[in-house]
Structures are given as C-alpha cells and as structure tokens.
C-alpha cells in the first residue's frame, strides 16, 4: 500500500471535487437570497410575514426526501420550472450536478438565513437611522452599515450551510439520482461503497476524507469569523 494510502483514487477525487463544486455553487447562489430575506424578516413588517418565515424554514423541518421529491416535480423535464428553464435557457438541471447544487442550496438555505437574520437583528437599527440622517440612501445604508455589521453572521451562515451542503444526501439522491461524475458527491459515494460487497476499506477512506474536509472547513470558518469580528468591532 504505502503511497496508495495517501493518494486519492479517481473515484475519490471525482466525488471530492464534485462535492466541493456543488457546495460552493450552492452557497454562492443562496447567499444573496439569504441576505435579502434576512433583511426583509429582520427589518420590515408586512402582511404574511410569519407565513413567509414558515415557508423559508420548511426545508429544515421536512424530510430531505420530501424536498428532493418536490424539486423533482418542479424541476423535472416536464415540471413547470424545469420546462421553463429548458425552453428559455436550454438548461436542464435534472440528473446533473446543477440539480445537486439546487438541492443542496434549498436544504441548507434555512441554516444560512437564520444565522444571518440573528446577526442582523443584533445590529442597532439606530445606526441605520443615523446613516439616513447623514444623507445615505437605503442602498448605501445596506451596503455600508447593515451588511458590514452583519458580517459575523454572514460568515457563520456560509460555514453552516457549506457544511450542510457537503453532507446533503436525501434530497440529492431523490432529485438527481446517483450518477458517477455528475451527481455522486461524497455522501453518495459512501452510500455506493457501503452497498458494494467487500468495499469496507473504500467506505472507510471516504469517511476519512469527509471528516478531514469538514474539519478544514470548520477551521477556515473559525479564522474568518475571528477576523471579521475584529474588523467589525475594532480590536
């Protein structure tokens, strides 16, 4: 064995890179929406607010399989959104890594939203009012006061949802199946290994990769959180 122990096989590299790609796109794609909805829920009063809040948190409370099935119905080639995407942009998300990213984004969205909203709730609204009296437009206040002061929550939200994306299984396998190189992320690769007789070693290696990846992400987010808190509060 020797070197082979520390060298990733093609199967493992494929799953690792795919997991990273899916998680990065899922996080980047949901971030603007999470900030937008967090602002809406934290700063505005409107009719149907609690209903919106419930809907946005739904993926946290329903089984991931249900989310995956819902996505399949919506984004399948004959689903309303899937058909529209295909007709308008010629893009099909079903059974592709893009679908896996959508599944991961939807499932992790409530975690990101909550972290950002809590942090935004803690920002003194009077600072925003003062910015207005200093002549700032609503957009400038959001850009220069609200978002910078919410950064600790944004970093925490990114870290949480990134971790959740890496672990996403149920919605992904239901929505986009388990296709090698396309939708077979680390958890799905582990599932495949477990179901193959005599692949215990393979399963163990994927578990190890997942743990190392999670710890690395955690360490990065700790460093980022520390820096951001320092930048926001000044020492």
């Amino acid at each position: 064995m020797g070197d082979a122990l520390f060298t990733l096989s093609a199967f493992e590299t494929e799953a690792l890179l795919l997991s990273l790609r899916v998680a990065v796109w899922a996080v980047l794609g949901s971030l603007p929406f999470a900030i937008g909805f967090a602002w809406l829920l934290s700063r505005k009063e409107f009719w149907g607010k609690s209903a919106l809040n419930a809907v946005l948190h739904l993926p946290l409370v329903v089984p991931p399989v249900v989310v995956g099935y819902g996505l399949l119905v919506l984004f399948g080639r004959n689903g309303p959104l899937g058909k529209w995407l295909l007709d308008t942009f010629g893009v099909s998300v079903a059974f592709s890594w893009k679908g896996a990213a959508i599944a991961a984004a939807v499932v992790s969205f409530p975690l990101m939203l909550r972290a950002i909203k809590l942090s935004m709730d803690a920002v003194d609204e009077r600072l925003e009012f003062v910015a207005h009296t200093l002549g700032a437009s609503r957009w400038k206040v959001l850009r220069t006061v609200t978002i910078p002061l919410t950064m600790p929550g944004i970093v925490a939200g990114i870290a949480l949802s990134f971790a959740r994306c890496l672990g996403e299984f149920g919605a992904t396998i239901t929505f986009v199946a388990n296709i090698p190189g396309e939708t077979r992320t680390l958890p799905l690769a582990l599932y495949t290994a477990i179901n193959s007789p005599g692949a215990e070693m393979q399963a163990g290696r994927i578990v190890l990769i997942s743990v190392v990846l999670a710890l690395g992400a955690l360490a990065l987010s700790e460093i980022a959180a520390h820096r951001v808190t320092k930048a926001v509060h000044g020492i």
């Binding site: 003194d124 009077r126 600072l127 009012f129 003062v130 910015a131 207005h132 009296t133 200093l134 002549g135 700032a136 437009s137 220069t144 006061v145 910078p148 002061l149 930048a231 926001v232 509060h233 000044g234 020492i235």
Partner: protein, 361 residues
C-alpha cells in the same frame, strides 16, 4: 442668514400625546422638562425618526412634514445633523471614516477643520471602541457637521459624562453656534447646561410646551424655576482675573465684583452665573463685618407675595439685569422695602455649574 424652524404638530402614541407649536430661530434653543415630557419625541419628529399624526414642520422654505399636502420628507433629504445621547458611531469604521460618511462636496469644512475645532485631530485613525465617552460625543457632533446641516439637533449629547468632560465640551458647542451660524436645538435636563448654553428655552411637560422664551424670561416666571429646580436668576458677568493661590476667580459686573470658586474661562470672557433666589439676602446699607463677600448694588423693581411665608422680590442691577430674591413678609415689613428703593443684594452662593453650587463664598 437667519433661520426659521416652524413646528406645529400633534402626535399620539400609546396614551401619550405630544402637541407642540413653536418657532425656533438661530442660536441655541434648549428644550428641557422632566423625563417623558416629549422632548426626544419632538426632536425625533424634526429629524424624521417619528411621523406626527398631523401638522406641519418646515425649515425656512423647506417643508419637512405637512399633512395638508401629504408630505413626509425622508430623514436623508432633510439635511439635519442629529446627535443622540449614545453617540452611535459606526463601530466598523475609523474616526476619519465616520467623519467622512456624510460629507458632501459642498461642505465648507474639511475633516481637518472639524477635527481641529472639536479637538479630535489626534484621534482620526482610531476606532470608536478606543475612544473615551467624551471623545465619542465630539466625533458624533463632527460627523453631523460634515454634512453641512441647516440645523443641528443634539439630544442630551453630554448625558452620562462626568463634570470635567462636560465642562470641556460646553465651550466647543458655543463655538459651533458662533462659527457655523447654525441653529442648534439642544435637549437636556442638566441645568448647568441650560444656564451655560440657552439663548432660548423651551420647557415641556406631559407632551405640551408649558413655557418658552429667552432664558431670563422663562426663569422670571415664578413657578417654572421651582419646577426645573432653577429657582433663581441668571446673571452675566465678565471674568476679571484668577487667583490661583486662593482658588478664586473675580468677575465684574456694573453692580460690583463677584468672587467665585476658580473657573477655566479666560479673563475678558463673559460667563453666566446662576444665583438662587433663596441665596440672595437684602440690606439697606452696605454691610460691614460680614462673611458674605459678594455684595451688589441693586434697585427693587417688583415685590410679589409668593407661596406663604415667602415674598418674591425682583431687583434690577445697574445694567438692568434682573436678580430674583426671596425673603419673609416680616423682613419686608421691618426693612420697609418698597418698589424703587436702592438696596444691597448679599449673595450667599453663586453657581456656574452644579458642582459649584454648594461652595458659598
């Protein structure tokens, strides 16, 4: 340029009604009154933080709020400097970035000018967390001034600062009035600040303006003074000099000299003194062999019976300033006090600041 802020508003919020009708011009207008009187609500309505139920607010020809024409200008469009008690500096920015946040191209003042006037020029690179309470207030005032405001609202800007820090900032606020020619509305219930700063005074209670006018006019109203804990009169005098050894400052007025515990103001500058009505005794001739050192020549201009057993006597100093005194009816009778009579006012204690009040000289 004379400024004219017109306010006529009504605003009801859970059991509390603010009703204010006033006109505010240049100089420092102090708004005072007990907690819950509606001072901050009034200021908030001017700044646009709260929307009145009906009425009108305008500054010169600039209409901020008007129910008749359904106008409610955004705070950003009002061009007002608004400084609250908790300075509310942006914690993620340096002092300089805070100052520059609302600066306009049209600003007559640069960061350096403002920093010099407010004595914060050494702090520009710091973060708000690294500032003392007094420094934070000054940065907040500077940040508001950088927007070139047409009006400055200061809502208890010196609350929770110790006396030394307060005394250091008060002259700066006077400088703002003189150098920027800016109407300033200043909310406080600290009477040392009222005495020092008020060109005009607005007294509020239970959401109503109960009295308004120049400081002397308001203090001349019999009950207001007692209500504010300012039962007496405010006299202006000029600093003559200081005696460091004895810790005394000498002030001159046309009616005689006054000796008070040492103050920081330069010789030649004018200061306002508060003299409590109960601290002024009267004598028919210049007394000798008396521990009271502050004796002013005065003429009785009014004698009014107050709440028994008290008689209020108003005295005019040689330059016309009014000094209020309070004596017993027996004293009036035995001295035979009448209007127009020349007397000597014996001043038992003089205050520039709350801390000095209890040092009779």
């Amino acid at each position: 340029m004379a400024s004219d802020l017109q306010i006529d508003i009504t605003l009801a919020r859970d059991g509390f009604t603010l009703q204010a009708n006033t006109q505010i011009g240049s100089g420092i207008t102090v708004v005072t009154g007990p907690s819950g009187a509606g001072k901050s609500t009034l200021i908030g309505a001017i700044a646009g933080a709260v929307k009145p139920d009906r009425g009108r607010i305008s500054l010169n020809d600039h209409i901020f709020f008007d129910t008749a024409s359904r106008r409610h200008l955004r705070p950003a469009a009002r061009n007002i400097g608004y400084v609250l008690q908790d300075s509310l500096l942006f914690p993620h920015m340096s002092v300089k970035q805070n100052l520059l946040y609302g600066s306009r191209k049209s600003s007559t003042w640069t960061v350096d000018d403002i920093a010099k006037i407010l004595e914060i020029d050494g702090l520009l690179a710091r973060r708000p967390k690294q500032l003392s309470g007094g420094e934070r207030r000054r940065v907040a005032i500077g940040r508001a001034l950088m927007t070139n405001p047409q009006l400055l609202l200061l809502d208890e800007p010196l609350a929770n600062l110790d006396a030394t820090r307060r005394r250091a900032i008060l002259p700066l606020i006077e400088r703002l009035r003189d150098e920027f020619d800016l109407p300033i509305i200043y909310v406080t219930h600290a009477w040392s600040e009222i005495i020092r700063l008020a060109d005009r005074l607005i007294v509020m209670k239970d959401g109503q303006i109960t009295n308004q006018g120049t400081l002397s006019e308001v203090l001349a109203t019999d009950d207001i003074g007692a209500e504010l804990g300012l039962d007496g009169s405010v006299i202006e005098a000029t600093v003559l000099g200081h005696d460091n050894e004895q810790g005394l400052s000498t002030l001159s007025s046309t009616s005689g000299q006054l000796h008070i515990a040492q103050i920081v103001d330069q010789p030649g500058s004018n200061v306002r003194l508060f003299i409590g009505a109960a601290d002024v005794a009267l004598a028919l001739s210049r007394p000798v062999g008396l521990s009271v050192q502050n004796i002013l020549e005065a003429t009785i201009i009014d004698i009014r019976p107050g709440t028994p057993p008290v008689v209020n006597i108003d005295l005019a100093l040689n330059d016309g300033q009014v000094l209020r005194s309070r004596v017993t009816p027996r004293a009036v009778e035995s001295l035979g006090l009448t209007k127009g009579q020349s007397v000597y006012a014996l001043i038992k204690s003089v205050a520039l600041d709350k801390d000095l009040l209890h040092h009779p000289l």
